[in-house]
């Protein structure tokens, strides 16, 4: 990759961390790739070979307009088409909490990918805990803006829950980074991060 290429700043910290996790020239599958922003970044910065899976038809048009390879479908059924270890990385950023069967999806992702990157919203960060404890309300925050009746999220978990899940399923956590907004959280990440980014292997 030519280094002098004029590159815009990566505006999201989760995207920046994921780009940092990924090696140059990798084959990447992004599950729930949306309009392809992250995939485009990975192609641009890390010269990756990228494929996306996305359920929203309008987002597919944007992906194709951005020159991406993308498949129209849901994450729950979209993985079994691929052969073992076909990808260097499978990414599930902000999508795991919306799938029907997260356990199967993660295990399938670890089958088709050598490594898996997961980004999850932390439902137990301090602000959420405050609302729950003092206000007696199910948390609605900037990062978790949905009311109980219109949320796309099917799963509510914390960083700690995810660590337990990995341990119970024999998944190795290679890296865990908690983030709050645009900052990394080093102290009590399960309390102070709103998002956790994981690099996994099995």
């Amino acid at each position: 990759m030519p280094e002098n290429k004029n590159k815009t700043q990566i505006s999201r910290l989760d995207h920046k961390l994921i780009v940092d996790f990924v090696d140059l020239n990798s084959k990447v599958l992004d599950l729930g790739c949306g309009d392809g922003t992250l995939l485009s970044l990975l192609i641009d910065r890390k010269n990756c070979h990228g494929t996306g899976i996305e359920i929203d038809e309008k987002a597919i048009y944007k992906c194709v307009a951005n020159g991406l390879t993308v498949s129209h479908g849901d994450i729950d059924s979209g993985l079994m088409d691929f052969s073992n270890k076909r990808f260097d990385y499978v990414i599930l950023n902000e999508s795991l909490q919306q799938v029907l069967n997260p356990r199967r999806v993660i295990l399938e992702a670890l089958r088709v990918g050598k490594k898996v990157i997961v980004g999850i919203p932390n439902f137990c960060h301090s602000r959420a805990r405050f609302q729950l404890f003092f206000m007696g309300r199910v948390p609605v925050t900037k990062e978790l803006p949905y009311q109980w009746y219109d949320t796309p999220n099917l799963r509510f978990l914390s960083l700690k829950d995810f660590r337990c899940f990995c341990r119970e399923n024999g998944i190795t956590i290679l890296k865990e980074i908690g983030i709050m907004g645009m900052k990394k959280v080093f102290f009590w990440p399960n309390l102070f991060s709103n998002v956790g980014i994981y690099l996994l292997e099995k």
Partner: protein, 381 residues
């Protein structure tokens, strides 16, 4: 549209496979000479890297874009092919050839058999998608093009595109397959058979030996009417016709035409008879039914020779070639580690959606071709 900005095109012809070098068909029979009708749009660039072949569907012809001088009938895919359109003829050299077995200028059952100086009729050998594709390869060689940037088609055109990908993997960089599948299902075969029976039970059909006499017009019109029902969706029919009556205020309580949809189908059937040969319909529909990319094996193995990049498009309301058939194709392509993008476009137009110029379809093809131009340039470096 003013006279000066209309693009006029002419159908061109090539003849090949003169005896004794006839084309050996999939059935084992030989056919030759073969004349192929084709049209081209746009300019072939210097390194011949911008060629796109368009494959037409059952009743199509080589006249895919623009106009012929002296006629008002536009090409069948004029909303997709032309300057600034999805298949942008300012950038790409677009070729469309008529299929083998047709009656629109290419050798078919209504052509004169040079051995007998009579029309072939049913003595014309049964042709397959494989044979149509083999004939198109002759055309590509004739044009001096080493490799297509893209091969694209809808419905039966999509079958040809898929066949190209596995038959000539080194001659095709990318494939766009729209509203198609890799084999006809029992339902599709059944619908085709009803259409064939409609033709063959017309007393004028005469075992296919009707040339120069009265043609099996009723049978062919009926076949077309059945076809048109399968090309539309329940919604598109409801929107277009509903229960509207045709030139009457109330029901006739007889068997004359009451509803607009009846009149539409009759019109479509009758106008089809003016331009299409009944025997060609039989041969082409049979070729569709015989098409099976996997040939009873695994679809994954069938795609093993393919190297192309794929774009697979289906439409939500298409019940003739439903989306799940495209999905299983995508599955098999992915299992071969091929580069494949796919989309199910929401549309109420049914199978016809690929012809009517659904907005999303143009957009997706335009962007896919831009990427293919880049990857092809990169591959040639």
């Amino acid at each position: 549209m003013t006279e000066q900005n209309i693009d006029y095109f002419e159908t061109q012809y090539i003849t090949f496979c003169e005896p004794p070098d006839e084309l050996v068909l999939k059935s084992g029979e030989k056919l030759g000479p073969i004349t192929l009708a084709y049209e081209t749009y746009g300019k072939l660039n210097k390194d011949k890297s911008n060629a796109i072949m368009i494959y037409h569907a059952l009743s199509g012809d080589a006249h895919a874009a623009g106009y012929h001088k002296g006629t008002k009938k536009p090409g069948w895919w004029i909303n997709m092919i032309g300057p600034g359109k999805a298949f942008d003829t300012d950038k790409y050299f677009v070729i469309c050839s008529n299929i083998l077995g047709s009656c629109m200028g290419t050798t078919g059952p209504s052509s004169i058999n040079p051995k007998t100086n009579q029309p072939y009729g049913l003595s014309f050998p049964v042709v397959t998608i494989e044979d149509m594709v083999a004939a198109q390869k002759y055309l590509l060689d004739h044009l001096g093009i080493k490799k297509l940037l893209c091969g694209a088609g809808g419905s039966m055109g999509g079958s040809q595109a898929l066949r190209w990908a596995v038959e000539y993997p080194d001659y095709i960089h990318s494939v766009i397959s729209i509203a198609t599948n890799t084999r006809h299902s029992a339902q599709q075969i059944a619908l085709q058979e009803v259409a064939r029976q409609a033709i063959m039970s017309d007393p004028d059909w005469q075992e296919g030996n009707y040339y120069g006499k009265s043609i099996p017009a009723r049978g062919l019109a009926l076949a077309r009417m059945i076809g048109h029902i399968t090309y539309m969706s329940e919604t598109s029919m409801e929107e277009k016709f509903g229960r509207k009556l045709i030139s009457k205020e109330r029901l006739g309580y007889d068997f004359s035409t009451d509803f607009e949809v009846e009149s539409y189908l009759k019109y479509r059937g009758d106008s089809f008879v003016q331009r299409f040969d009944a025997n060609s319909y039989l041969y082409i529909s049979k070729a569709l039914d015989y098409f099976d990319l996997a040939e009873d094996g695994k679809l994954k193995d069938a795609f093993a020779p393919a190297k192309a990049h794929f774009l697979i498009v289906s439409f939500s309301s298409d019940w003739l070639y439903p989306s799940h058939q495209s999905k299983s194709m995508v599955k098999a392509l992915k299992a071969n580690d091929l580069d494949v993008s796919d989309i199910e476009i929401s549309s109420t137009y049914g199978h016809d959606a690929f012809l009517v110029g659904v907005e999303g379809l143009s957009e997706i093809i335009r962007h896919f071709l831009t990427r293919m131009s880049k990857t092809y340039a990169h591959a040639r470096k």
